[in-house]
């Protein structure tokens, strides 16, 4: 990466970027506005949203590895 002045390069992207829409599922509030099923005493409303943080981290990481060529990392 050092000294690379390749300003003409395009953003690497493509269909894999669509995966980033998955985290937006949280916008559909009725999906998780329930108590059951509970997990370790957490109502679904709470553990679903906390779990979704990890889902979105994994997806973002996957997109990162899918779009950044190895040499640039």
């Amino acid at each position: 990466m050092a000294g690379n002045n390749d300003n003409g390069a395009k953003d690497k992207g493509g269909p894999i970027l669509l995966l980033l829409l998955v985290p937006l599922l949280v916008l559909w509030v009725p999906l998780y506005n329930t108590v059951e099923p509970t997990l370790f005493g957490f109502p679904f409303f709470y553990w679903f949203q906390l779990a979704w943080i990890f889902v979105s981290m994994i997806i973002t990481a996957a997109v990162y590895y899918g779009t950044e060529p190895r040499a640039e990392r």
Binding site: M1, G3, N4, N5, D6, N7, G8, A9, K10, D11, L17, L20, L21, P23, L24, V26, L27, V29, P30, N33, T34, V35, T38, F40, G41, F42, P43, F45, Y46, Q49, L50, W52, I53, F54, S56, M57, I59, T60, A61, V63, Y64, E68, E72, R73
Partner: protein, 517 residues
């Protein structure tokens, strides 16, 4: 409340430590601090880990640690909007902000207003973006002081008369001094200490407290049943969803976020952080649950805290919880984490506001021929002015005003979205149209908020039904509609100014170095 000597001693020791680190930071990744991009962006040398700590310390503030659980304590499920808020923001940051980093690095921009100036060739639109940023940031700095004030009071520090604000003034004087000397390097170094302390505090709380009250189900059982979930109706869903969506759209337009993004050493750092920063979101979700733990422990019903609850309201829930369940030395540690958690964002926010003033108002309109040293000296002075202003705000005005102003700040900053975010992709929008759209959105948002008694969710009557939604969303839709319609008109009658950026700027991996335009 009696003076808690042990807690206060630990608190003061940690403050002394970060003061030392703040001054020492001037020599870290050494640069010429008489240049604005060195003082105000730390030369753009921060790698993945430091950027993670810096943005984490910057976005998740002391006020967040006090106010989010306070909201959970009082309003229940609604407070959890802080979690999906940060879920939707990072994929957005991943896609959009590397473009801002690249164009800023290629062209030497240090603020969002700089970018708007170069992209649209319109100093007035850039001024609007700069003023909105400054206006939205100042009450945010003031709010950090509320977090600090609550924990100082919780340690039983009670001074009479004119001395009542002395601890706040001392804390801010320390902050102002290391900011002035070290610039952005100081809060970045301190953020590392502060974030580790916050993680320790919160994990201690979520392991110890549910165990003491008899399990997580007992914690959730303490929440009044009608507040455990959102109401089962469309209005509650649109209110919740627009609140976190609007907050997410606004978050990275704040000057302190832009400063954090632009201080990173490459666009890869930003992408990696979009995947790593949600760790703080998880922490924030746990912090929200501290409000429920306070209900479960029943701190609001204990006579020892009655006076403090009368003075600070639900904001006292977390300090009371810590006092009740932790040993004194750990209370001091936890309160120091919150107190230092006030200094870090306050420092970055005042640096970011100062960068805007110095670059986009002073250099653009007052002294166009200033050299780099004059520009950075002006920024250092303005960072002091911002802090003194925030202090005055808290000392002389009711806290309610700061909270309302911060709510307005979120509604205001979103109006830079069309110019900045759409601008990263297209030059089609006309700068005068964007300026008028910005004005329409600002007026509409402010008016709706005032008419709504400064509550964020406004119920709009549409087609015979009421649709509650976050005011920022309603007003930014108006902003965007005005911008598009007027662009069609203006582009038909006149050619717009020159765009100094070229498409490849938005992908550049390396810049041509910081500095001026």
């Amino acid at each position: 409340m009696p003076l808690n000597v042990t807690a206060l001693t630990v608190f003061v020791l940690f403050f002394a430590l970060v003061t030392f680190v703040g001054f020492a930071a001037a020599n870290w990744k050494r640069g010429d601090l008489d240049q604005l991009h060195e003082w105000g962006l730390a030369g753009g040398k921060f790698g993945t880990l430091i950027t993670w700590f810096l943005l984490g310390g910057d976005l998740y503030t002391a006020y967040t640690f006090i106010a989010v659980p306070a909201l959970a304590f009082g309003a229940g499920a609604l407070a959890f909007f802080a979690v999906p808020y940060t879920i939707v923001v990072y994929p957005f940051v991943f896609v959009v902000f590397p473009r801002l980093w690249s164009v800023a690095r290629t062209r030497g921009y240090i603020t969002a207003a700089d970018f708007v100036r170069g992209r649209y060739g319109d100093r007035w639109l850039a001024l609007a973006v700069a003023l909105t940023g400054i206006l939205a940031t100042l009450p945010y700095i003031a709010l950090q002081l509320i977090g600090l004030e609550v924990v100082i009071a919780a340690m039983g520090v009670q001074l009479a008369g004119a001395l009542v604000y002395l601890p706040l003034i001392i804390s801010f004087a320390i902050l102002a001094a290391f900011d002035y000397f070290s610039g952005l390097r100081a809060p970045a170094a301190i953020a590392i200490i502060k974030d580790i302390m916050i993680y320790i505090t919160v994990f201690a709380a979520v392991f110890i407290i549910p165990f003491e009250v008899g399990g997580w189900d007992k914690v959730f059982a303490a929440v009044p049943p009608q507040k455990l979930l959102l109401a089962y109706n469309l209005g509650a869903y649109t209110g919740y969803a627009t609140l976190f969506l609007g907050s997410a759209m606004a978050l990275f337009l704040y000057p302190h976020s832009v400063t954090g993004v632009l201080s990173s050493s490459s666009r890869h750092v930003i992408r990696r952080n979009a995947a790593l920063l949600p760790a703080y979101s998880f922490l924030l979700g746990l912090i929200a649950l501290l409000g429920f733990m306070a209900l479960a422990v029943g701190v609001d019903k204990m006579p020892a805290y009655a006076n403090a609850f009368k003075q600070f309201g639900a904001n006292f829930a977390v300090p009371a919880l810590f006092l009740q369940v932790f040993p004194s030395w750990f209370v001091g540690f936890a309160f120091a984490a919150i107190g230092i958690g006030a200094l870090v964002p306050a420092a970055i926010m005042s640096i970011a506001a100062a960068n805007l003033f110095s670059r986009n108002i002073y250099r653009e309109f007052i002294n166009p021929n200033c050299d780099g040293m004059q520009e950075s000296r002006m920024a250092k002075t303005m960072s002091l002015v911002a802090k003194v202003g925030a202090l005055m705000f808290i000392i002389f005005l009711p806290h309610e005003y700061a909270i309302q102003m911060q709510l307005l700040g979120g509604i205001w900053i979103i109006h830079t979205f069309p110019a900045v975010i759409f601008g990263l992709y297209t030059r089609w929008l006309n700068s005068k149209a964007l300026l008028i759209g910005w004005g329409a959105g600002m007026i509409c948002g402010t008016w709706l908020a005032a008419a709504n008694a400064f509550r964020p969710i406004y119920s709009l009557e549409m087609f015979g039904t009421t649709v509650p939604a976050y005011i920022a969303i309603y007003s930014v839709i108006l902003n965007f509609a005005v911008s598009v319609v007027l662009t069609l008109v203006f582009n038909a009658i006149a050619r717009s100014a020159k765009d100094e950026t070229v498409p490849s700027d938005y992908y550049a991996l390396e810049g041509i170095g910081g500095g001026g335009h």
